[in-house]
Amino acid sequence: MIELKGISKKFGDAQAVNKVSFKVEEKETLVLLGTSGCGKTTTLKMINRLIEPDAGGVFIDGKDITNEDPDVLRTGIGYVMQNIGLFPHYTVAENIAVVPKLLKWDKEKIKVRTQELIKKLHLPENSLSMFPHELSGGQQQRVGLARALVTDPSVLLMDEPFGALDNVTRTSIQKEFKGLEELKRKTIVMVTHDVQEAFELADRICLMDKGKIIQIGTPKELLYQPINDFARKFLAGQRLGLEFKVVKIQDIWSYLPKVTLQDGKSLSDDLNVWDAMELLRSSDRSELLVSGDNKESKAINFEQLTKAFNQFQNAQVHE
């Protein structure tokens, strides 16, 4: 668990971070979202003391981090840098082994763990003996991620971990990333300025502007209960796409026709509208079989889906 209590930081006259407080629960992923220069990186770096705050405090598992040796603190926190920051003079294997070596792991243990990670992160086996400049940008980001994950720290800080990638690669890495078992047991603070990415990966989003928090909440809350104009406008451009992603079949269950069908292989109602539409469009089926929580199943076609979604939307607005 990470807790920030009113931390501020000034660079010269510029207030980079202004009285930011939030709490990240155990195994939760909090995404810091905001425009360039709003203080996301600065906030993140104050969590592992790469930057010392001017005021306020940071507590990890209830302990004030200013009482800890900064080097020891940092070996215990995974950090993925905005600019990757791999050591150009180390091979991939050596880059991954930096923290384990600081912690004096034995060679065998490092080797086993490294093998495990490159498999999970889909890095080619032979890349271990390569130098970073011999890898593609996407591969380098994976190595950066492996380096942060290798000691399985319970806290992970990530600064635009997919920032250097093109859209196609980014989407696929995000998917893989979301599927990684390792990450599900970690407390994660991640920075991004990409709204799609934030919605894809966040449990909760912390929207920032000019060093201040504008709103903290689940993606759904940000979408449907924006706190002010800034929050609303920030999401406006991609609103529809975001809503498709946020709204799940269970949310619109009541708006779907009550036709119950016989048993068959059914999908979970955890499915979001976006994915459901994707399935309907890509497969040759015209209907999807989805089962609700009360063991009731519904077969849905495209028209029914959009209609139910629209009804749900109208209901939100009038709420």
Partner: protein, 523 residues
């Protein structure tokens, strides 16, 4: 040309022991000082990369040190460190410092900030960041600095021979003063090759990729140490007294070779520059030196000339030598220059030299005072009638003579005068005369005979010990060979001489070179 190469090869072959020893000394000297320079420069470079405020000061000081002329730097060292290895190593170290400090500094501050931050973010301590990230990444730049320093050191190390620290400079400077091209080349070629080879090797190391570089870096200090270990001081055989001889003296029949063969003198000898020799004798670094009999420092440092009782040192009577062509252009030149003939005795010359070398009076003033006191001085005339070009070698006595001649010409003729003083050694001066760049300069009969004419050893031996025979021989030969005329001798004889401190000479009761030999044999 072919013959030249042949003889160079022969020379190198003959002198291979010396050549080998000098090369080892040279390499050793270069690397010992490099090692120290790295030991000092690397931490300093790291320090100023941490505390940038200091960088201006430190780089400034190192930069200023590097601009001090090498000879001057060696000179400064003597009072503090004496002669020999210590001052040479310190001087070389000082020259090597700037490139090492500067490149360490720029190498470290040039590292990508993100990489340094990543190291911090992973929990590396300051020293771990330095050793594992900063130094390895700055290494190509640091190596470039070491490479520059190495090449500088190979060059400056030639000067180590001036202060008895050995190296290839012994051949180079010995060869220059002996007008022995083979000797110069035997020193210069290996020195140049050394510089080229080391430069190439280090550029290979510098261009290695990180993986190979890492291995190379373990080996490098060991290589430095081993190469530095080559440096064994040129002090093989011990004797109770130590002699310091100039490179020129070492190679001459009428020098060290004669001392060995005719007197049978066996003395622990180191090679040293004459600029430093007298002071070193005075401060008891040396006991016996090969000086010049009219040198002012003889008086200044209270030294005594040992009598050359078997007369191996030929006479060195000074006289102006003039291109015959010049007499056509300047008909009154001969009688004007001859005004000085026979006017300056040994003791007078020693005194004049003493005034410039030790009392630091200008050669101009010393010359004028002397001419006034002998009634030769006349106020300058207009000087409209052409310009006589006077040359001089690069030491005090020659400057004084050049000034005297200049004043005499201005006072007694309508010619103008331009002086080209400080024309290095004999060879440079003589070449300037032959190439019509000067009209005359003061030369010594012994030098004319042994250095410029280099006759058959038999003739030389026969000639060498008679003042008049030598003069007549060089006059005739120069006229024949070079169309150059020797005018009348000025009077003094500036020959080689062995010298000791007055007090030591009295204490040991050594007054002649034979006394010296006997004393050494007994002790």
């Amino acid at each position: 040309m072919n013959e030249q190469q042949q003889t160079l090869w022969q020379f190198m072959h003959e002198q291979s022991d010396k050549l080998f020893a000098q090369t080892l000394q040279h390499v050793g000297l270069t690397f010992i000082s490099l090692l120290f320079a790295i030991a000092i420069g690397l931490p300093l470079g790291i320090l100023i990369a941490r505390k940038r405020k200091l960088s201006g000061t430190v780089l400034g000081i190192a930069g200023v040190l590097q601009t001090v002329p090498s000879i001057a730097l060696l000179g400064f060292m003597i009072p503090v460190l004496g002669i020999g290895a210590k001052p040479a190593i310190v001087a070389l170290l000082i020259y090597a410092l700037l490139p090492i400090i500067r490149n360490t500094y720029t190498g470290i501050i040039g590292i990508d900030q993100h990489v340094k931050e990543a190291a911090r973010a992973m929990g590396m301590s300051k020293s771990q960041i330095l050793l594992k990230v900063e130094l390895p990444l700055a290494m190509p730049v640091i190596l470039a600095g070491i490479r520059t320093a190495t090449v500088i050191n190979v060059g400056v190390a030639t000067l180590a021979s001036f202060i008895a620290a050995g190296g290839l400079g012994e051949f180079i400077f010995g060869g220059i003063s002996l007008n022995n091209t083979n000797m110069i080349l035997a020193g210069a070629i290996p020195a140049a090759l050394l510089a080229i080879i080391l430069d190439a090797l280090l550029s290979l190391v510098q261009k290695m990729n990180f993986k190979k570089l890492r291995k190379a870096l373990y080996i490098l200090p060991a290589v430095l140490l081993i190469l530095g270990g080559f440096y064994v001081l040129p002090s093989a055989y011990g004797s109770t007294l130590t002699a310091g001889f100039t490179p020129e003296f070492m190679g001459r029949q009428d020098g060290d070779l004669g001392l060995k063969s005719i007197y049978g003198l066996k003395i622990h000898t180191i090679v040293i520059s004459d600029a430093i020799m007298y002071k070193a004798a005075f401060s008891k670094e040396l006991d016996v030196i090969s000086g010049y009999s009219t040198d002012g420092r003889l008086k200044a440092f209270d030294l005594k000339i040992l009598k050359d009782d078997k007369s191996i040192f030929p006479p060195y009577y000074a006289a102006p030598i003039v291109r015959n062509e010049a007499f056509k252009q300047f008909p009154k030149l001969e009688e004007t220059l001859n005004l000085l003939a026979g006017k300056i005795t040994d003791s007078v010359m020693t005194d004049l030299n003493y005034r410039t070398d030790y009392l630091h009076q200008t050669p101009e003033r010393v010359a004028k005072d002397f001419l006034i006191s002998t009634g030769l001085y006349k106020a300058p005339k207009n000087g409209h009638n052409g310009v006589v070009r006077i040359g001089s070698k690069i030491f005090g006595e020659q400057y004084i003579l050049a000034e005297m001649y200049s004043m005499l010409i201005r006072g007694n003729t309508d010619y103008g005068v331009s002086t080209k003083t400080g024309l290095g050694g004999t060879k440079i001066c003589f070449d300037a005369l032959m190439n019509d760049q000067i009209d005359f300069y003061p030369e010594y009969t012994g030098t004319g005979l042994l250095v410029l004419l280099q006759p058959d050893p038999k003739i030389a031996k026969e000639m060498a010990h008679n003042k008049d025979k030598t003069y007549n021989y060089v006059s005739a030969e120069f006229e024949k060979k070079f169309k150059i005329k020797w005018l009348k001798p000025i009077g003094f004889n500036n020959s080689y001489a062995l010298m000791m401190r007055q007090k030591q000479s009295k204490d040991l009761n050594v007054n002649t070179i034979t006394d010296l030999k006997n004393y050494l044999d007994k002790n």
